[in-house]
Symmetry: C2
Subunit: 237 residues, 2 copies
DNA sequence: AACGGTCCTTGCGCTGCGACAAAGAGCGCG
DNA sequence: CGCGCTCTTTGTCGCAGCGCAAGGACCGTT
């Protein structure tokens, strides 16, 4: 059910493509196809040969990796406008993770054969990709630093704040994470367990910091959360 | 005491430059200067404006980040041939970390103003940079996965094995990590404490897996370490 | 409206590992 | 050649947070 025609107006505003001339954009979009992904469905799976690369137009994806022992980790959240599945940029022939739609989503997809020519023909695209990967690298280093030095509650606070920034929607009474996210997900993002996240959320809820429901999260007091993330805690009891 | 003339023969074999034509290489090397860094000296420090970018020719560097709370984390080890200090590729104007020479080292350095022109003029260089950053991203994800799911001993085993791969020198009786590395360093690479690393090394030493001295490390039984890293442990007592 | 599936909560006991402490060992410097 | 510094070892102790377990809430389905 791919849509053969792509609406340039949707693509144009994305930072990745914004510096392309109009004619270039046509060239880039040649061979691209959009595709709907239902919630819970995978765009691609870890270990599969990397046949396509993608841009997320709408919705939200979670990228998982599974350890040899079968443990899951969420490597990142893909937000609208993000490039993903770019195995070629990492010099891989397979996908290093599994991308699953956290909400109904729409992706733009190119066959991987288009990668090299596109990158070669459009230097500004290559630049953009470099920056994308660079940004992810910095995120990753931030996470490493947090996991190495911070205790669980602060890591969870950081993770939630990151979600707020990337996917927060202002709402009377606070900021809502606008896609379904479970405690399990947050546990996998912070290297802890579902149980611990649940406990932390309960404590935050009593403290009036957040309002947490099934797959839902409303941050009532972002500033308070920032304090927690910076270690202003240990006032319990 | 920079050396104004750079020996092309030293640069040519580096993967990063190998696909450049000879004339291109001249262009790339224009404006490059080599510099010696004594052990313990910093090439650049976290937060400084990023004035140069570098390639390590000889020696070994540790890249640290300091948390707001003052904790140190080792982000990566720079091996000969590696590009580093490429803040521009991450769209930063300052260095995100501090690079310190773990052993006497020689770096090749360019003023950062050369970055954009070089990347623009030499597409294969841009590609190479993308792959470099991509490889680092994958490393980072691996570390995140390990820190999230594995217990300390296995993480330490993985870290040591990575060192062996990158900086191992075969030697009668085992593989030596050929630059000075302390337990503190390894603790900072794995998100644990000096004390725990010391204990683990002691245990490994009794088990005949490694031989560890002051800033020295000889892996006697790499395969045994692999077993540890894969979780074949819990035989103690 | 009953049912199964998913997601969430909470209590309890155990333990990996960090905090603290104190002393030993190797190295470089004056 | 001895002094001080950094790096390392080893022990003891306490606790954050994980594993386990059981139960409850909410959701979509037929």
């Amino acid at each position: 059910m791919p849509t053969p025609t792509i609406d340039k107006a949707v693509i144009r505003p994305l930072p990745l493509f914004s510096s392309l001339a109009d004619a270039e954009l046509d060239d880039v979009l040649a061979g691209a196809v959009s595709r709907r992904i239902a919630q819970g469905e995978a765009v691609f799976e870890q270990g599969q040969p990397a046949s396509h690369f993608y841009v997320l137009l709408h919705g939200r994806l979670k990228v998982h990796q599974v350890t040899p022992a079968g443990q899951q980790v969420i490597v990142r959240i893909v937000n609208p406008g993000d490039l993903f599945g770019i195995a070629k940029a990492l010099r891989r022939t397979d996908y290093p993770g599994t991308a699953i739609a956290a909400a109904d989503s729409v992706v733009l997809t190119w066959p991987m054969e288009r990668w090299d020519p596109l990158i070669a023909a459009h230097p500004s695209l290559a630049l953009g990709v470099m920056h994308t990967v660079g940004a992810r690298l910095q995120d990753a280093h931030t996470r490493i630093r947090e996991m190495a030095t911070e205790e669980v509650e602060r890591r969870v606070a950081h993770a939630v704040l990151r979600l707020v920034q990337q996917s927060g929607k202002k709402e009377p009474g606070g900021i809502r994470i606008d896609f379904p996210i479970s405690r399990q997900d947050i546990a996998e993002m912070t290297g802890t367990t579902l149980h611990t996240v649940s406990r932390i959320f309960s404590a935050w809820e009593s403290a009036g910091l957040v309002e947490a429901g099934r797959q839902k999260l409303l941050v009532r007091d972002p500033h308070g959360l920032v304090l927690v993330s910076e270690g202003m805690t240990r006032e319990r009891r």
